[in-house]
Amino acid sequence: MRVAVCRPQVPFVYGGAEIVADDLVAELRLRGHEAEIVSVPYGWEGMRVLDHAFIWRLLELKGSPGKPIDLAIATKFPSYGLRHPNKVVWLLHQFRQAYDFDRTEFGQFSESPLDRATRLAIERFDRVAFGEAKRIFATSGNVAGRLKRYSGFDAQVLPHPPQKLAYRTDGSDGFVLSVNRLDRYKRIDLLIEAAKAEPGLRAVIVGEGPERGRLEQLASGMNGRIEFTGRVDPDRLADLYARCLAVYYAPVDEDFGMVPYEAFLSAKPVVTTLDAGGPLDVVREGETGIVVAPDAAELARACAHLAAHPDEARTLGEAGKAVAERVTWDACIDALLS
């Protein structure tokens, strides 16, 4: 089968969505399919967001004579606007600024009539695009729920496996690991505040982002209990997963969250919050991790509890591993190509 995997690309930004699309192409090829990434640069400021949606709309992926494209798999806004008779959407997320982020600190549309109407145009575009799809999958219950709530479409939940790493378990060196882009809504500051409240808590924070300066400032004067590593290579990342006590992952209403799966494949429990969204599909209180209110003191208590009960931490991590191992590329590709 000849498959086009479609994703928008913010120039010079490579994150979870890009990894998923690349992995999907690689896995399709492993199974004997012809697969390629179709990508268009993406920007979302002001009305430019409509221009980019429209660029995708102008793409009619027919392929070339003798090499028709059998299937187009679109991943996120606005790539699902492309035209193809066999379009499948595997939704990572819609343009959240137009929906749940609207009129919040994370939104981008003001109260001006022009901004409000731009947001409406995105709503309309989504309804047209999803209405054309042969099948719609969503990477988490959270993403599927939002799609139903805001656009009225049902989606089958189909999580994807995390990136390939040399996952292993090397006991515990007692630190809590955070792997995330350093953005405000990823809520790394909550972990630092928790470490301030719990003197025994050490944390390693992997990732880069606009919040790094503020977070380092917040962590100053803690005798090196908070370590910022910046980006790390895959071997180092696997090593950190293997040696940590637990993984902290608590963005605000996250779409999916690959990190819990990576933690689980390293047999580590995940500490998250009640409002984390997608991660709650797999991080379950007392089963695969600890779920607390988004409060530094509660988070500190949860981390201290795991440090004091290493057997329990191990049990939770092992249970998580069993959950993560059920999410395979075989299952994903079977569903997408069915």
Binding site: L50, S112, P113, D115, R116, T118, R119, V128
Partner: protein, 403 residues
């Protein structure tokens, strides 16, 4: 976005005032600022003006005046506006305005009819056959967009030549509250709420109720609302032999009393013919209480799902059909009531209605500017690329919902 909001408001005795009292708080949760404009006050600066228009000149005349000064989005609560237009023209000593309005909508024939009315040669059209001459053109000309509650009114507006955007948004329902039913007996107790006149098919209801009493002697009829000036209710009751043992009368009642009375009923009747295209707040209230409901099979009422209300055709068998439907409604009260409540909870949910309003207002305020900006950029890109005719590209943008 700032919206100037024109509507009669309580304590005005108007269904539209009740409607706005219900809707406004939900809208205010979703719109940056809404300024409710009072009659005689200066128009505030706003991104958009929203006008609630009904057929009553006392309640809505000043709103049409404001609409004339500044076009905006019109909530067309009724399709027939003849009484309103007559009120703000002839009623203000401006007969020429009435002639012009009639000519605008119905040509020379309309002008001649209007002359006949002004010269007392013809009966008043708004009292005798308003549904044939709805006279909506004056308002439609000024509407930058229309919000309507039914397909019936949407069709009527289109047939009247309206070419602007129309958003069909259901009448909202009231939040569910525990209501203590009034202590009234009746087996069954049949309720009819609202102004009592010929349009509400009160004669047919009384006849149908009399037929019901033959098989259900314990049946009682509750009539709530004032009787129209020229509607001789007492004579009709006497002629049909509907005495005090079978009848309970209340005139205009407070909102809380209204709910308590409605909650006490076993079946509700809300008939209408001819229809002015109106939606009935009473029907929505009754359905929200899970009451079996009889309505006329026309206009907005006919658009209610079949399992939710019993629809009475307006024909020569109307009275016996009403009697049979009352029997049926009593026998299947539980199923009909459950379906009614579920329907109203979904279709008429206040939050959903408010959300649809906000989308309509936002589209009206900025939609054209966004579309124009998109089209300009498409045209610019096409020109830069040497394309003389970007119409194909524009069609693609339109199909994608982007312009």
């Amino acid at each position: 976005m700032k919206v100037a909001y024109y509507s009669p408001m309580p304590p005005s005795r108007s269904g539209i005032a009740d409607y706005s009292a219900l809707l406004l708080p939900a809208l205010r949760e979703r719109v940056e600022e809404i300024v409710v404009v009072e009659p005689g006050k200066r128009a505030p600066r706003a991104d958009l003006a929203l006008y609630h228009v009904g057929n009553n000149p006392e309640a809505h005349g000043w709103i049409v005046d404001a609409l004339k000064r500044r076009p905006g989005v019109v909530v067309l609560h009724e399709l027939v506006l003849h009484h309103l237009i007559a009120g703000i023209t002839i009623g203000r000593g401006h007969g020429r305005g009435y002639l012009d309005a009639m000519e605008r909508d119905y040509g020379v024939v309309g002008r001649l009819l209007a002359l006949g009315v002004l010269d007392n040669l013809l009966p008043l059209i708004w009292e005798t056959q308003p549904e044939r001459f709805p006279l909506t053109g004056t308002v439609l000309d000024l509407a930058e967009g229309l919000i309507v509650h039914s397909s019936y009114v949407e069709r009527g507006a289109r047939e009247a030549g309206y070419g602007g955007p129309i958003w069909r948004i259901p009448h909202p329902t009231w939040p569910e509250e525990t209501i203590e039913p009034a202590e009234l007996a009746g087996d069954p107790l049949v309720g009819c709420f609202g102004y009592l006149n010929m349009n509400k098919r009160i004669p047919q209801l009384l006849e149908g109720f009399t037929l019901l009493r033959q098989s259900r002697p314990g049946a009682r009829l509750l009539l709530v609302g004032d009787a129209a000036e020229r509607f001789d209710l007492d004579r009709r009751l006497e002629r049909l032999g509907i005495g005090d043992e079978a009848l309970i009368r209340e005139s205009y009642v407070s909102e809380s009393r209204f709910w308590a009375l409605m909650a006490a009923c076993d079946v509700l009747v809300n008939l209408r013919s001819p229809t002015m295209g109106e939606t009935s707040g009473s029907v929505i209230r009754g359905l929200s209480l899970g009451k079996p409901m009889l309505v006329s099979d026309l206009g907005w009422f006919a658009e209610l799902p079949d399992g939710v209300a019993l629809k009475i055709p307006v024909d020569e068998y109307e009275a016996p059909t009403i009697a049979a439907a009352l029997e049926l409604a009593t026998a299947h009260a539980a199923e009909l009531g459950a379906a009614a409540r579920e329907y109203v909870r979904g279709e008429h949910d206040l939050g959903r209605v408010a959300h649809a309003y906000v989308s309509a207002l936002e589209e009206a305020a900025g939609g054209e500017a966004v579309s124009n900006a998109m089209l300009l950029r498409i045209a610019q890109a096409a020109t830069d690329a040497g394309l003389d005719d970007p119409s194909e590209i524009v069609r693609a943008a339109r199909a994608a919902g982007l312009v």
